[in-house]
């Protein structure tokens, strides 16, 4: 089913299912970028200049509401696949959206990226005026790094927990040195359904790969499991997972999910996706350190203290990337996109058991010919999975059921 309307340039989907079984889908519309720069300021102005839309289904994905634009001013969102806006639901039916925003430093009058949040308390029909969660410091790195931004709080993520709390995290450059290329990890939480958030707090001061979007999920105890990429000595960049208590204290430091070491003095642009079931954590990420770069899958049976990599998930692919992973009941769904032979990029998926063993073969997603890419998945209340993907300039949706 096509979700985004014709005429938009939709990309960067995200999806959430709340405890009532309602499904929220989000995407970025890049149409504002087709308009010339507004010339509002003379310094560097960066893309992406986009809008975010949300649509809700209350009937298990059979129908979706007319999309609602989330941001109040057009082009306010720095939204792209590399730094996707996020949506989550909380038990009382609210929907929460976090995104990186195009902002202007109040003193320096230079562009910067900040992390914004908004919520809907009317089932997605409207969203409140966004609030900025990331602090603005007097840092000005515009002449040194990231081409024109005074600072950046981006590539973030968000999760909600069973206790109703909402947690937003992002990668922050406020401590970045001119000779460094790693960021800090900051976060902010709400315990009143998004009405108020805590002052942003640093969780990691450095060594976070600044262009590899964070991911986070919560377990049944409302503890947070976070995926990120670390920058180590000599530019090795492992995909890692760390855990935090429900109050936001780090309980397990970053653990590598394994696989061949990847040494890269560059921007991998690769998130580490995570899913959780009791003490089991499932993780996946693209690794350029493998003989054939591709998505690797890894499992922790001890709450994230250690991981056992299971290797490349799609060995016959020339390249595989953009994994997404979800647990529902006794099944784990891993989806990704890949190029096989001379075929265009397509979405593939496979189910796994809770012990990380594959069930059945790799499946190619049944979609129209051409490029299908950037899947995201969520667990439905009926035990199946909802999968979104991007095809051409539209976002599509389908349901997958594990055997």
């Amino acid at each position: 089913m096509g979700l985004s309307p014709e005429g938009q340039k939709a990309s960067a989907p995200d999806i959430a299912v709340n405890s009532k079984g309602d499904i929220a889908v989000l995407w970025v519309d890049r149409s504002p970028q087709d308009k010339p720069a507004d010339g509002g300021h003379n310094h560097d102005r960066h893309l992406a200049v986009t809008d975010v839309y949300v649509a809700i289904s209350k009937d298990g994905g059979n129908t979706f509401s007319t999309p609602t634009k989330v941001n109040t001013s057009s082009g306010a969102v720095w939204g792209q696949q590399l730094s996707r806006p996020r949506i989550v639901g909380t038990p009382n039916g609210s929907w929460h959206v976090a995104y990186s925003a195009n902002d202007i430093h109040p003193k320096l009058n230079k562009t910067l990226l900040t992390t914004h949040y908004t919520r809907s308390i009317d089932g997605g029909r409207s969203f409140e005026s966004p609030k900025r969660l990331s602090s603005i410091t007097d840092q000005d790195m515009s002449d040194v790094i990231h081409g024109g931004f005074a600072s950046a709080a981006a590539f973030g993520t968000m999760t909600s927990a069973p206790d109703g709390s909402v947690h937003v995290y992002w990668i922050d450059t406020r401590h970045m040195k001119p000779d460094s290329d790693s960021g800090a990890l900051y976060g902010s939480a709400s315990r009143d359904d998004g009405k108020t958030f805590t002052t942003d707090k640093q969780l990691i001061d450095t060594s976070v790969c600044p262009c590899c979007q964070l991911t986070a999920v919560a377990n049944s105890k409302s503890e947070i499991i976070m995926g990120s990429r670390q920058v180590e000595k000599d530019s090795f960049r492992p995909a890692t997972v760390m855990t935090l208590s429900r109050l936001g204290k780090v309980t397990n430091e970053r653990q590598s999910i394994g696989g061949a070491p990847w040494q890269i003095n560059g921007c991998p642009l690769k998130p580490t996706v995570v899913a959780v079931h009791d003490s089991k954590i499932f993780a996946a990420s693209h690794s350029g350190g493998e003989a054939t770069p591709g998505v690797i899958f890894s499992v922790s049976n001890d709450g994230g203290k250690s991981f056992k990599p299971r290797g490349i998930v799609h060995p016959s692919a020339a390249v595989s990337d953009a994994p997404t992973i979800t647990v529902n009941g006794s099944r784990v769904l891993l989806a990704w996109h890949a190029k096989v032979g001379s075929a265009p990029r397509r979405v593939y998926y496979r189910f796994y058991s809770l012990s990380g063993e594959p069930i059945g073969e790799i499946q190619e997603l049944d979609s129209a010919p051409g490029v299908s890419q950037f899947p995201v998945t969520a667990a439905r209340s009926d035990g199946s999975f909802q999968l979104l993907w991007q095809q051409a300039d539209r976002i599509w949706s389908t349901t997958l059921t594990a055997k």
Binding site: A37, Q80, Q263, V319
Partner: protein, 163 residues
């Protein structure tokens, strides 16, 4: 003379051949035109650098690449950038950046929706890591793919091996 130089630059751009001396605006390009542009550059050794304005290692690498390729430009080595930033009308955003920080850098700027489209012209297995630098020989064959920033010395040696 100025008008003649401008005419020559425009003419070369129309032919898809970039001027050996840069300082021309960032050129928005789609996959089909990119393929044509590379084909028309046969006979040269191309150092093709995929970069982005938001990529810190890329920004540190560009000056090194400019320096190294300038050393050997007499040997028919040319540096061509490909900015993978999200497209803007007329590549104004990449151009604004290029002009300010790397005025001597000739770069294309992607016009298509996805980063992968341009790279797929020469490397369908590109994994969207930046910077990625391709060394293309005089016959148009990709002979080396380099991922991540390398030192000036490393690039110098890599190019020397091809010459």
């Amino acid at each position: 003379m100025k008008a003649l130089r401008g005419f020559l630059i425009i003419g070369l751009l129309i032919c898809g051949i970039h001027p050996l001396s840069a300082a021309v605006p960032a050129k928005p390009i789609n996959a089909a035109d990119f393929k044509s542009a590379l084909a028309s550059s046969r006979g040269k050794i191309i150092v093709l650098n995929f970069w982005a304005t938001w990529c810190v290692p890329c920004l540190r690498e560009v000056p090194d690449l400019l320096a190294v390729t300038n050393e050997v430009k007499g040997s028919g080595v040319v540096l061509i950038g490909v900015a993978v930033d999200d497209p803007s009308p007329g590549a104004t955003e990449v151009e604004r950046f290029r002009k300010r920080y790397f005025p001597e850098f000739f770069t294309y700027a992607r016009q298509g929706s996805e980063m992968d489209e341009l790279a797929s012209v020469i490397d369908p297995t590109w994994n969207e890591v930046v910077p990625t630098t391709y060394l293309i020989d005089r016959n148009g064959k990709v002979v080396r793919r380099i991922q991540g920033k390398k030192s000036t010395q490393e690039f110098r040696q890599i190019i020397k091996d091809i010459l």
